[in-house]
Symmetry: C2
Subunit: 361 residues, 2 copies
């Protein structure tokens, strides 16, 4: 199925991170990465992006993965992420009827493992690059399912603008995919001030938390129902461009998620004193405005995403300047989703191949 | 009813704080201080105590309250605690058939408003001192209901050892009282290392939280049921002197409470980075022992109570010594409950009365 001329040519995709307004926390199926609840996110622009090059070649001795310059062993059972990637590669090769090994080289322009959804951008870039490299005839909805298997939230990074990941109800995951709700122009004023508090890796990976929390938190029973209701509310708030309402939904969802994390056993605590100071600062800012002009939201880490509008960017940055412990603030508009890069942007070249010692010819 | 010779004589009671193993958070009736769930606590020894002197006199111009040397206006509508005290005083005077004003002078030996349950000790001392001063013929169960109206957890400080506060189901609160489950000798090895992280007042009073959380936290719906189940489990664990089990129940209840606080709107966050370091340290200590030898629990503040046994005190103190930011550690055994002090310990004398300007012939 795959034309021979697709082999030995690296394809390179840049995908961006996304910030969930209504978050994914807890999976009902570990192997397929199926969530207990649907989620909604805003795709970020290339301020937080991952670039991934993929090449299939019958001359490679084995599958190889290089992330941020580090070799990852794709055959390791220890490395959960690697086994997910391996599975997606095998699915794609099966569809393509291809028997060739794969080299994946990926690079973030922001720190990974710190709750900045590096794995989401990576999963989206990888999935699209695989599809391009194999010239597979599948649509974005199907690609979002591939990405989902590598990183749940990665399914949402296949689209720009505002994206919904449907939880689905089927056991095989075939109805658990992402779709775009609104493109990046629908409410272009929406921005994310990514407020970096720490660049060190988190103590508990989100992958571990997705399993631990549903199994141990007694409060988690209510979380899926709460999140599903919020997804509906958030969609309406976005449709009406009602920032005051959207902000409350975003902040309460973040707090709700971190509450069930704290209720897990052993407890998972991502927020620190700087996160807390940011929370109080945003509440105070909103009180001073008599309405919500900004919303904080935290993924699996202490770093804050402050969702606001272009109009209030300066006010938010002013308020945040009073918080000690903020390292830097990245500014991101809504992104347009992943894109194929030209060959000269490839991360795979002869030098790389020599350096990593993957034999070719 | 009250013999005239009871007037003009100060009665002085010392009561101690308690640390809840299963906590009270959320009241179903604000005026009567009726909780959504029962709770269990260990009464502390006099390391954390409140001494309260009460005098009734027909020569006082008005009711007066002095806490830690500061005059509190008992007629103020702003001061919730004052209005509770006023109510209890009026109930007691009504029972006694007495028409005289009251002077209350109270003093903590530890900082108040920092989640160290100063109000519990104060409420218990006040209630018992009133009953003694008026020579009322009511039992401790009834006195616990008086204390409950001033401070919910205060009901539990009327007894030593391990105490249960029954939530009750009646609207008038007549079945919401405390009782002793086990005296202080039943499991005398149980101790509390009160780990002071901050002595500054908390941002949100527990009184405010008791109302805010049930009204706004969507996860709170499950809290009363969880806590009631824990009360039963904890009672069994204590009966069996099963520290490993008790410790897990204690830690999970604390996390559960702080989770519903975080889920409140606006969020209530009591734990800080030092609290979190203590949590991790205790988990690590327990892992190293292959069983739970210590349990952390936090009331409405960042200060930790580390429940452990005499046997493991040194190991716990050793582990805590690695945590930066701990100011001091108070050691408390189980206390025996409140006691009447001799006249020479009275906080009320002519000088005090002159100083506060309450007129007395």
């Amino acid at each position: 199925m795959v034309p021979l001329n697709m082999l030995d040519i690296p394809y390179t995709v840049r995908a961006t991170s996304n910030i969930a307004f209504i978050k994914y926390w807890g999976r009902r199926n570990h192997d397929l990465n199926l969530p207990y609840n649907s989620s909604i996110s805003m795709t970020l622009d290339e301020s937080l992006s991952t670039t991934t090059s993929v090449e299939f070649s019958s001359s490679f001795k084995k599958d190889m993965l290089i992330i941020n310059g580090k070799k990852q062993d794709l055959s390791s059972q220890q490395n959960e992420k690697a086994s997910y990637i391996k599975k997606v590669l095998e699915q794609a090769r099966k569809i393509a009827g291809l028997n060739a090994h794969t080299l994946v080289v990926s690079k973030n322009n922001f720190p990974s493992g710190t709750g900045l959804a590096s794995s989401a951008a990576g999963a989206a870039a990888l999935s699209l690059a695989i599809v391009k490299a194999l010239n597979l005839d599948i649509d974005t909805k199907e690609i979002s399912k591939m990405a989902r298997q590598v990183s749940g939230s990665g399914s949402r990074s296949l689209y720009g603008g505002i994206v919904k990941w449907h939880r689905g109800t089927l056991h095989d995951g075939s109805d658990s995919f992402a779709e775009q709700l609104f493109d990046a122009d629908y409410w272009s004023g929406l921005i994310d001030l990514v407020t970096i508090v720490t660049e060190s890796a988190k103590r508990v990976s989100s992958s571990k938390g997705h399993t631990l929390t549903p199994r141990t938190s007694r409060l988690y029973d209510l979380r899926p129902k709460i999140a599903e209701a919020e997804v509906k509310e958030a969609e309406t708030a976005i449709r009406n461009r009602d920032f005051n309402l959207l902000a409350e939904i975003i902040m309460r969802d973040s707090n709700n998620l971190h509450a069930v994390c704290l209720d897990s056993w052993p407890p998972i605590i991502y927020l620190n004193d700087v996160s807390r100071a940011i929370i109080y600062t945003i509440h105070e800012l909103n009180e001073n405005h008599g309405k919500n002009v900004a919303a904080y939201t935290f993924d699996a880490g202490a770093n804050a995403h402050i969702i606001t509008t272009q109009k209030h960017r300066a006010a938010v940055e002013g308020a945040l300047s009073s918080v000690n412990g903020i390292k830097r603030i990245l500014y991101s508009k809504q992104g347009n989703g992943p894109r194929l890069l030209s060959d000269d942007k490839s991360l795979i070249n002869d030098e790389v191949i020599r350096h990593i010692g993957i034999y070719k010819y």
